[in-house]
């Protein structure tokens, strides 16, 4: 057992079907367009592609369909199929959580850490609708928890150091399980100073500090049933956002749940889990550390969510069914106080999220069945009802400045359906899927009040009258695999109507000093987004393996103008060496020039770049205790670069040497 033994396996497409363990477990399932990123230290192999104490963001970034939008060195925002937060569903163990920051500085992935997780399930498009309505896809962060199958008792310690930013990481973990109980407890601490971009250029306000503690406890209460309780507390302080005009003095989350789980392999009802959960997030944005601001301001935000789900797995001959009935109630409030230079003047106060209460309830069902020996079909459906209420009169009055007849209540129905077909014969595999999905506008899109977006330099006003965004999608993939060579090509196409985006409104005056004006969230008739990638893996020998990936995306609106934040041609190539307990890799990744940028939305041309990385890891055993060390260099040639996903072209990290050490006592 090595700590945070991270086997990051991209189980995308059919490659995964053929080679992953998951398939062995559940062989009737189609897992096209699903990736499982393994974050825990249970399934050990030396296939580490990420440093064990890497951030959850670094893990996610390895996914083929995820890109990470960066505003600094912390809390990157995941995008699936080039679609960001509002268009994707992100859950923690099926629990809905919503960030409390109006400026997307706290994607919910920032409220967990690798110490909490066992794996991350990434699903593209409508396959990701299991836990909530989505357009782009779904990410479910699975918490690490024991089971009652084995006797486990171990304690792990980990420590990491990185030269760039003088980053220090320490973590400890305790795992216990027997046939009646299990306990998983962990704590992690991270601290980083400002990092340096290529050429030793310090990026000011890129520091952060955070800790996270979590405990999962399970108790068996009868032959097949168990009660499991979870508590996670995550707190980050002094987080700099160099790409923005404000930093975060504190971001904290308390995430709790209790569930009843029943498993019976002899029954048609294989698994039944019912969970009640509650989480509360406080996010305090301020600019007290910035010397040159035209006016000082505080922008705290709060988001509380209460919810439950009941998930059932039903197994019948040739059918594998899954149902999820879920509901949640979220309360989102954010405010902004600006302090005038004249201390005798009253503070300027506004509600930027008017205490929006969202009540969602929905049902999801899927059926995965074998048509014949070569082909399978899967059908998924989600229907949901959502009601939004503006609970704060101050906030309602504020929005009525723009929408005089606005009612404090809104409701909408949401439908997501998809169907996938998979055909495999010998070394080839083909799959295709078709889907339709809808999503409700987010709190910001519906009810935001003068939210400044530094990306395009506009203040944004929400629009409560937006229609649901609707997406029609097509996916197809072809894979080939033999003993030496695996190859795959995949394409997904989204036609999204009533696409929500901000449009410049000439007759409204900006609020933020220096902003170019006001944009109102409106709907474009339609946009199209195309994502393609080609992957290959060649095994030279038992010790050498070469992997490569090329991706290309294109996003256009109904006027054939480019959409923002769409990845240019990008590539990755890795050479792996493995012998006994030694594992080494050398890789390069990069992107071509971003020709298809969107100047309308504040983008400029991002240049091409290539960076090189190398790492080596080794396992030592002493009795049953294990010692694991991994070290490497990132951005070996100290290249100064930024990618299309870097907010305001904030440059990425320059050369970084890291060491991670794990020690597990059994």
């Amino acid at each position: 057992m090595s700590k945070f033994k991270i086997s990051f396996s991209v189980l995308l497409l059919f490659t995964s079907l053929v080679f992953s363990q998951n398939v062995v477990i559940d062989s009737t399932k189609i897992i096209q367009l699903k990736e499982v990123i393994i974050v825990n230290r249970e399934h050990l192999s030396n296939k580490n592609q990420v440093k064990p104490l890497g951030s959850i963001d670094e893990y996610l970034e390895k996914s083929r369909i995820i890109t990470m939008i960066k505003r600094g060195n912390y809390a990157w925002e995941p995008a699936i199929n080039n679609m960001v937060s509002d268009r994707i569903s992100v859950t923690i163990d099926g629990m809905q959580i919503f960030g409390a920051c109006t400026d997307k500085m706290d994607p919910i992935t920032s409220y967990v850490d690798v110490s909490n997780l066992s794996e991350v399930h990434v699903k593209s498009g409508q396959q990701g609708a299991e836990n909530g309505s989505t357009i782009g896809g779904g990410i479910d962060l699975k918490l690490q928890k024991g089971n009652f199958n084995s006797e486990v008792l171990n304690v792990g310690f980990d420590t990491g150091f990185e030269t760039n930013g003088n980053a220090k990481i320490a973590s400890t973990e305790f795992n216990f399980s027997n046939s009646n109980y299990f306990v998983n407890a962990d704590a992690i601490y991270r601290k980083s100073d400002n990092y340096k971009a290529g050429g030793n250029k310090e990026i000011k306000y890129s520091q952060f500090e955070k800790y996270n503690v979590s405990t999962v406890v399970g108790k068996k209460i009868n032959k097949n049933g168990a009660i499991i309780g979870t508590i996670i507390f995550d707190k980050a302080t002094n987080i700099g956002y160099p790409a923005l005009t404000m930093d975060v003095s504190m971001a904290k989350a308390l995430i709790t749940s209790v569930s009843y789980q029943q498993k019976n392999n002899n029954s048609q009802l294989r698994e039944w889990e019912t969970k009640f959960y509650m989480n509360t997030i406080t996010h305090v944005m301020d600019d007290t550390k910035r010397p040159d601001v035209p006016i000082h301001m505080d922008m705290p935000g709060w988001s509380d969510t209460y919810g439950f789900y009941s998930k059932m797995k039903v197994k019948k001959p040739n059918h594998s069914m899954f149902f999820n009935a879920n509901a949640y109630y979220n309360k989102s409030l954010a405010e902004m106080t600006m302090y005038p230079t004249d201390p005798n003047e009253n503070d300027m106060f506004m509600l930027t999220w008017p205490d929006v209460r969202t009540l969602y309830s929905g049902m999801y069902g899927e059926d995965d069945f074998k048509l014949n020996t070569n082909s399978k079909l899967k059908i998924t459906t989600r229907i949901g009802y959502q009601k939004e209420t503006i609970a704060n009169d101050f906030g309602l009055n504020s929005l009525q400045i723009f929408y005089p007849n606005l009612d404090k209540n809104q409701s909408r129905f949401l439908v997501n359906i998809s169907s996938q077909y998979e055909y495999s014969k010998k070394k080839f595999q083909f799959s295709g899927s078709i889907g339709y999905g809808e999503r409700a506008p987010s709190v910001t899109e519906g009810y935001g009040f003068y939210l400044f977006n530094s990306f395009d330099n506009y203040d944004y006003i929400g629009n409560p009258y937006l229609n649901n965004e609707k997406s029609f999608e097509l996916n197809s993939a072809i894979n080939y695999a033999d003993k030496k060579l695996k190859m795959g090509v995949q394409a997904s196409f989204f036609y999204i109507s009533d696409y929500i985006i901000g449009k410049f409104k000439t007759d409204y005056d900006r609020m933020t000093i220096g902003a170019d004006g006001v944009k109102i969230f409106t709907a474009l008739d339609y946009v199209t987004i195309l994502n393609t990638n080609l992957s290959a893996e060649y095994t030279f020998s038992h010790t050498f393996k070469l992997e490569g990936l090329v991706g290309y995306s294109l996003g256009r609106d109904n006027n054939k103008s480019n959409l923002p934040l769409i990845s240019p041609l990008n590539y990755k190539i890795t050479l792996r060496y493995k012998k006994n307990l030694l594992d080494a890799e050398f890789g390069a990744s990069g992107a071509a020039k971003q020709y298809n940028y969107s100047s309308d939305y504040g983008e400029d041309l991002t240049d091409s770049y290539t960076v090189f990385n190398a790492s080596v890891s080794y396992n030592f055993y002493k009795g049953s205790n294990k010692f694991f060390i991994k070290s490497g260099i990132e951005n070996i040639f100290d290249t100064y670069y930024s990618t299309y996903a870097d907010w305001k072209n904030i440059p990425r990290m320059g050369r970084n040497i890291f060491v991670n050490i794990s020690y597990v006592l059994k």
């Binding site: 004249d342 003047e345 009253n346 300027m348 506004m350 400045i401 005056d509 220096g514």
Partner: protein, 281 residues
Amino acid sequence: MNFFKYILPAIFTLVFISCSDDTTDFGPINEVQDLIKVQEISNDTHTIEVYTKSGTLVQGYNDITIRIKDKSNQEFIENAAISWKPVMHMTAMMHSCPKSELLKVADKQTTYNGFIIFQMPENESEGWDLTFNYTINGISYEAVDTISIPQSTKKTVSVFTGTDGVKYVLALIQPQNPAVKINDMVVGLYKMESMMSFPEVENYTINLDPRMPSMGNHSSPNNEDLTFDLNSKMYQGKLSLTMTGYWKLNLMLRNQNYEILKGEAVTDVNESSSLYLELEF
């Protein structure tokens, strides 16, 4: 929380029910409940009580309620015909200010209501007095006393000479309690016909452009210019305030031919109009 949500109202209800006997008032009717007494102005026979919401008189617009108490029997007069005259005694001259009539409040027995717009504050050597002339059952009376009109911290009234050579008084009447919303805005506009006469000016237009000087002088959306309302004889419009704080309400006064009499448009180079009002909340 839920406990308090449900239990507290129940407790209050009980308290109120049990107390209700004690609070029943069998004394003389009180029609000034939500008002605070500013001062009393007396003569030999009567005491005139002057009330406002805040308990003070201010430079600018004042909504004033009075009642007249008969000193002989302590009862309030219900049938007076009354007029008032505010006068500013300056070292070199004296003048009055815009005001309404003082009329009996509909569906009230004892109170009379009107407004006065004090366009300037008192100072050490100069000050205001207020005279009441009233008739009860055919007999005329007069009561007079000095009143205190301190300077307002914010500009709520403006005295200026238009390009037409006329001297105007413009005062903010509403909103008295501004909020982050679209507020109903009311402004009074009066012409200084003589030292003692300030009639309403009708059918002009007042352009409105609220700004926040402390935040780069930004404006707000969906304001409506002020136009004359025949009923109230005042100018009505919509004032949108997007946040709390200090707002400068830049104005331009236009006559019936839409010619500018006073004020300038706010632009990048011109931060504010010479005709403006202020509010802060």
